[in-house]
């Protein structure tokens, strides 16, 4: 009986460390670490501000982010730009509004309450501009794409969504390093990227090159640095309440822990006379 029980537990433990659903030939994301991992981790404000800059100046040319509004940029737990900065950022865009009293649509400068403007009016337009490939909305990308698999692995390390984005951005094989076989296979307008979830040919040209943006805090803008910053920023856009969640979590655990201890003592006392 005990042997069997031990076996059951051993089997469960062993078995749990496998389990997978990875696409054929996809490379596991590079396991870089972020400040916001683990229960005590939180976002690095400067990193999110840099990440926003990369998104704004590079990614937003092709990718929409329709869950996000400018006002989110000044909310606690995010990049925490000042309200003035957010007003100025929003005002840098022209957005369509209306209809006015005469029934016409009109353009006005953006407000903090506006959503991030999308680069294309619809999916067809974005495909037409990107050689048929569709640049997905990035708001939730770090929550919808695992970087690695495995029942235990994901439990301990998370799903690796930010690492997935980082790996796609830094994982291109330069065209001149492709093997002859791959060159023959290469579809028109596609680039080799073994980290991409949907086969290793991606329709996104390598978006980052050294010095593509100039960071306000003087951080050197290497491809690696920009990829880290923008993937951290995308982790925040996917889960903007993460810091609040963890903070609340600690209070809840402490409260329940004390309550459980008290109840245990009461239980012991009440049960002392039974038997």
């Amino acid at each position: 009986m005990n042997v069997l029980k031990t076996l059951a537990i051993a089997a469960a433990g062993l078995v749990l460390s496998f389990g997978a659903a990875q696409a054929e030939g996809q490379k596991t994301a590079k396991d870089i670490s972020y400040s916001f991992e683990w229960p005590f981790g939180h976002f690095d404000r400067e990193q999110l501000q840099r990440g926003y800059k990369v998104y704004k100046e590079v990614c937003s040319n092709c990718h929409a982010m329709h869950q996000m509004s400018f006002r989110n940029l000044s909310q606690p737990g995010g990049p925490e730009f000042s309200d003035e900065q957010v007003k100025a950022l929003a005002a840098g865009y022209q957005v369509q509004d209306g209809p006015n009293e005469t029934g016409d649509m009109f353009e006005r400068p953006g407000l903090p309450s506006d959503r991030f403007p999308s680069p294309f009016p619809n999916e067809q337009a974005s495909r037409a501009a990107n050689g048929g490939a569709y640049p997905p909305d990035l708001s939730l990308i770090t929550k919808s794409r695992p970087g690695w698999y495995g029942t235990i692995n994901q439990l301990i390390n998370g799903i690796g969504g930010p690492q997935y984005v980082y790996s796609v951005l830094t994982g291109y094989t330069p065209d001149d390093q492709l093997t002859e076989e791959l060159k023959k296979e290469q579809p028109e307008g596609k680039y080799h990227n073994p980290y991409f979830a949907n086969g290793h040919w991606i329709g996104m040209p390598p978006p980052l090159s050294d010095g593509a943006v100039t960071f306000d805090d003087g951080t050197p803008s290497t491809v690696d640095q920009m990829a880290r910053d923008v993937s951290a920023f995308l982790a925040w856009t996917a889960e903007p309440k993460m810091e609040q969640r963890k903070r609340t979590g600690f209070m809840v655990m402490i409260f329940l822990g004390i309550l459980a201890s008290l109840l245990y003592l009461v239980k012991k006392k009440v049960w002392a006379d039974v038997h």
Partner: protein, 433 residues
């Protein structure tokens, strides 16, 4: 409810006035406070209370979510994100509700295995057990329809695969799927009816839970010895003994639950469900939530669609017959040395079935490598088939035979005897029969 006469004495004039018009306090006194309960229940008996609390949490969080949710294919996904981002504590409500469903299933599985080990389904508790199986079935339907509501990729494709199963039913199959869909594909009418039913079924569950507890209070609790209550010495009043014990267990369970909600809220779900449903793009792997995986494995084990559907539903419906399939008169597995081993084998088999349901059928078991179709290989499908066969073997062959062949250990004369023997092993001896 019957079983126990209450000693309720209204204390104030108002209580007396009220009691003469609605004797509800009488029932509370008799059925909740004084209810005689075996004194040897272990912590596995706290899961009933835990389940009641989980149902309540699902209803409360669900009703508030429904205030902010929009059941329309163009808006459902964004309305859930609106809850996560803009509604005050909306992220907490949603994570409580989504993880609450998983916790509900963890608790119900422990509760059911408890019943199987201690023979709680045997006479006179057959009806109590069958109401439980019905609750489990309706829970599964509720959670399935809830999972469709956020209208992510897995919501949509999961709904499509599962509703499609009904088309295998001869003659009525197509009409049933059309009825479920409200049309000829999974679309807005489907989402609307699933929302409506997802709101309704938890209240049906609440009604069934009342019947379940009623049935419990007619026949009384089983206990770890499986020996029936013989005298007042064997029992203690439910309150304060089990109210504090249950409360303690509930709070510990809530800590386990909170750890998921606050520190790993998406682990038990599917990443791809954070991508909005797209009827034109099929995800690489369509897998149900973890709590359905064993049944999914059974479904896929049978090569024929109708056969798979019958096996899958059969694997749950067979639980209704369990009280008559187990031929042993001894309830508790503690006194059935051979049954006990088969019980744990059955548990392991269910866990392996879960893994068998999680991967692509033709991959090597526990790997993401496709198996060579020309050679014998241990694939997800094969493991699923072996475990499916064993699942039915357990109920249809092992349990009926064991009851006839096995010699049980001597039972304690009463619950009190068993308790005394445990707390004082040197002086007390286990009396024969």
């Amino acid at each position: 409810m019957s079983g126990h006469a209450s000693n309720y004495q209204p204390k104030s004039a108002f209580a007396k006035w009220f009691h003469e018009r609605l004797p509800i306090m009488d029932m509370v006194q008799g059925q909740v406070l004084d209810f005689p309960t075996p004194k040897n229940l272990n912590y596995f008996w706290t899961f009933g209370g835990i389940l009641a609390v989980m149902l309540l949490i699902q209803i409360v969080t669900g009703v508030v979510l429904a205030m902010h949710y929009t059941p329309h294919v163009d808006m459902a996904f964004d309305s859930v994100e609106h809850i996560m981002r803009d509604v005050n504590s909306g992220w907490m409500l949603r994570y409580m509700h989504a993880n609450g469903a998983s916790m509900f299933f963890i608790a119900v599985y422990i509760h059911m295995f408890r019943g199987m080990y201690y023979g709680s389904y045997k006479a006179p508790r057959e009806v109590l057990w069958m109401i439980g199986v019905l609750i489990y079935l309706i829970m599964m339907a509720t959670a399935f329809m809830g999972y469709v509501l956020p209208w992510g990729q897995m919501s949509f494709w999961g709904a499509k695969v599962i509703t499609n199963l009904f088309s295998a039913i001869p003659f009525f199959g197509d009409s049933i799927t059309t009825l479920l869909w409200g049309g000829y594909s999974v679309d807005n009418p489907t989402l609307n009816r699933f929302f409506s039913l997802h709101y309704l079924l938890p209240f049906v569950l609440a009604g069934l839970v009342i019947l379940h507890i009623w049935a419990l209070h007619v026949v009384g609790n089983n206990n770890p010895t499986g020996v029936s209550v013989k005298s007042a010495q064997d029992t203690i009043p439910f309150s304060p003994y089990y109210t504090v014990k249950d409360a303690f267990a509930i709070v510990v369970f809530l800590m386990f639950y909170a750890a998921w909600v606050f520190f790993s809220p998406n682990y038990l779900g599917h990443a791809i469900n954070y991508q909005e449903a797209n009827p034109l793009v099929t995800p690489a792997h369509i897998v149900p939530e973890w709590y359905y995986l064993p049944f999914y494995a059974i479904l896929r084990a049978i090569p024929d669609k109708l056969g798979g559907v019958i096996a899958m539903f059969g694997s749950i419906l067979i639980l209704f017959a369990l009280p008559w399939l187990d031929t042993s008169k001894v309830r508790s597995g503690n006194y059935r040395p051979i049954f006990k081993q088969f019980f744990w084998l059955f548990v392991i088999n269910c866990i392996i079935l879960g893994f068998a349901g999680s991967g692509a059928p033709d991959n090597y078991f526990l790997s993401h490598e496709a198996a060579n179709p020309d050679k014998w290989a241990l694939t997800y499908k094969l493991v699923g088939q072996i475990c499916t066969a064993y699942y039915f073997l357990h109920f249809l062959v092992i349990l009926p035979l064991l009851g006839l062949l096995e010699t049980p250990k001597p039972l304690p004369a009463s619950i009190s005897d068993a308790v005394l023997a445990r707390s004082n092993p040197s002086t007390a001896h286990v009396p024969a029969e």
